[in-house]
Symmetry: C2
Subunit: 337 residues, 2 copies
């Protein structure tokens, strides 16, 4: 019944101009006369025309989309970041394609395909374990890439990140200010850059404050609630216990508090706990969690902006790094020693 979608030819016919003029009226309005512009716009409305992005992209040798590779889409930590990326990208007229890198079918080959210039104009990596510099293909023609939150120490691709060690320092200093002298730490997954940075921040600060970094007060974890609960079990088993614990993220802090609670240990009366991230629930957890806030939506925006700059600006893949400050949010999970 209804015809296929109207094309630029249809608009040209209705407006009685050439397709070139229609195209220009859309892409460079100042290049056509006022009168023509009016006629064309009118014709577009009459026909209900919308540009065929595929054709445009083919001709312009671009894709109008950026790809975001996320290590685990199911993790709420990433959704806020994604939201920031999406907001910025769509404001700039770019589509956002997402792919979960932990899906088995996402091989290096597939990532290589995403890198194909006509598939995506740029790439944001939320997964520091990914090494695009190792992907074969024409490296000279690789579209811009920006790491966001995580990064990889083995290459110098641009990245936007939080001040993780600074945030960890804030947490430790806060505990110190409250009078705590025996401070522990729950670590993230071993191979993660964030884990390293946060641990580094904790250790340096302990050192700077002249406090001991005891081996058995550094609990292994993996950013999960369950890891926090395991850390609680370990804490309970200690002879000499730290009076305060800084967790490398909020989930583990919550799991830790939960685990202690079940054993009849109260936070903050018996132990102070500070988290990291300021996830939604932190505010409503019992007790409300003192934590290090990272502006997640902002970092997404920032990464998208950096990527778009590189896309529009052309070459200049100079390594560059932007660090966003973290902020300590004091709530009820910490108190004076």
């Amino acid at each position: 019944m209804t015809k296929a979608f109207p094309t630029i030819q249809d608009v040209a016919r209705v407006a009685k101009v050439s397709t070139a003029t229609v195209s220009r009226a859309l892409s460079f309005p100042e290049r056509v006369s006022k009168e023509t512009r009016r006629v064309v716009i009118d014709a577009i409305e009459r026909t209900g025309y919308t540009v065929n992005q595929t054709a445009r992209n083919l001709r312009r040798k671009q894709s109008g989309a950026i790809v975001v590779l996320v290590p685990n889409l199911g993790n709420p930590f990433f959704s806020k970041i994604l939201s920031g990326i999406e907001a910025t990208a769509s404001r700039e007229g770019l589509n956002v394609l997402i792919a979960d890198t932990r899906q088995p079918q996402v091989s290096p080959r597939l990532i290589g395909e995403y890198l194909h210039a006509n598939r995506a104009d740029g790439l944001i990596l939320l997964d520091g374990a990914l090494r695009p510099d190792l992907i074969p293909g024409a490296p000279g023609k690789r579209p811009p890439i920006v790491y966001c939150c995580e990064w990889n120490e083995d290459n110098d691709l641009p990245s936007v990140r939080f001040d993780n060690s600074g945030g960890a320092a804030l947490a430790v200093r806060h505990l110190h200010d409250l009078g705590h002298r025996r401070i522990g730490h729950i670590l993230g997954p071993a191979d993660n850059v964030l884990t390293k940075e946060r641990e580094h921040g904790v250790r340096c600060t302990l050192d700077a404050l002249g406090l001991e970094a005891r081996r058995d007060w550094f609990f292994e974890g993996d950013f999960s609630l369950a890891a926090g609960a395991r850390a609680a079990a370990q804490w309970l088993a200690l002879d000499e216990r730290p009076t305060a614990v800084a967790a490398a993220n909020d989930e583990m802090a919550c799991g830790f508090i939960s685990g202690l609670h079940r054993a009849g240990v109260s936070v903050p009366d018996d132990v102070s706990v500070v988290g990291f991230d300021d996830i939604d629930i932190a505010d409503q957890f019992i007790p409300a969690l003192t934590t290090v806030r990272q502006p997640r939506s902002e970092i997404g925006e920032s990464a998208a902006t950096a990527l778009i700059e590189r896309i529009r600006g052309g070459g200049a893949d100079a390594a560059e790094m932007k660090t966003l400050a973290a902020e300590l949010i004091v709530r009820s999970s910490t108190r004076t020693a």
Copy 2:
């Protein structure tokens, strides 16, 4: 230095065949001779060729992508669903484009553009407030659309949903089984279909059990933690209080428990609370939340599968509805009256 990406022409030249043959070797391997196939594959490897999706899509009049419209990307509830959609779509070789419908720049017009057949092959709506049937354009040529989780009562587009009223019934029956006879409910946002379904399930079950549905025991909410806290304040102000409350989602349940906790009221000792959704934190909340679990990853997969069927199967936009069962997870926020 490095040339632009190799095209099908380059492969053809290296393999000493025509581009048509290369194309066929890729799309219909059985249509070329074994020998040619070998030569072509060899040439593809030597040149490092990958197909230009843009060109392919232009010719094939498809986009190779589906669009997911999410009401609020920052909401972790959606990320698991998205994850399921993404997994299925990428298994089928489709890209996933996301857009946040609550972003101001996402107008009906933009949604119309997504509907353009060459932009996306299909659409998954996580936002029931959206009415694609109202979008002008060629309705006959509209790509397939599937609602996921939410839906709109004013049209009969296919949808995949949870059994919300059934889940609510489970919650209420559970409370009844524990001996509770005074049962309240915290509602979601007023205009939401899920709110209605869940409330409906609660009311019907109360009715079936011969319990009273008291007006002042139905607290208004909006799915947020803060709304739960507000409900707590209202609960505290009541003369006659319900001994158990079913919340329309977990966030509100947590906010409610938190709010009560601050006022010195204990869950489950003083009130039993059951949530809805089984978000990650539910398990580690204090007390661990009894809730109605919805298989979120599954529903995403299911919606993606339904959409892909419609895309591949062609027309047949027959209204169809798939309902996934919910499951009650009993933890520690409920106990005998």
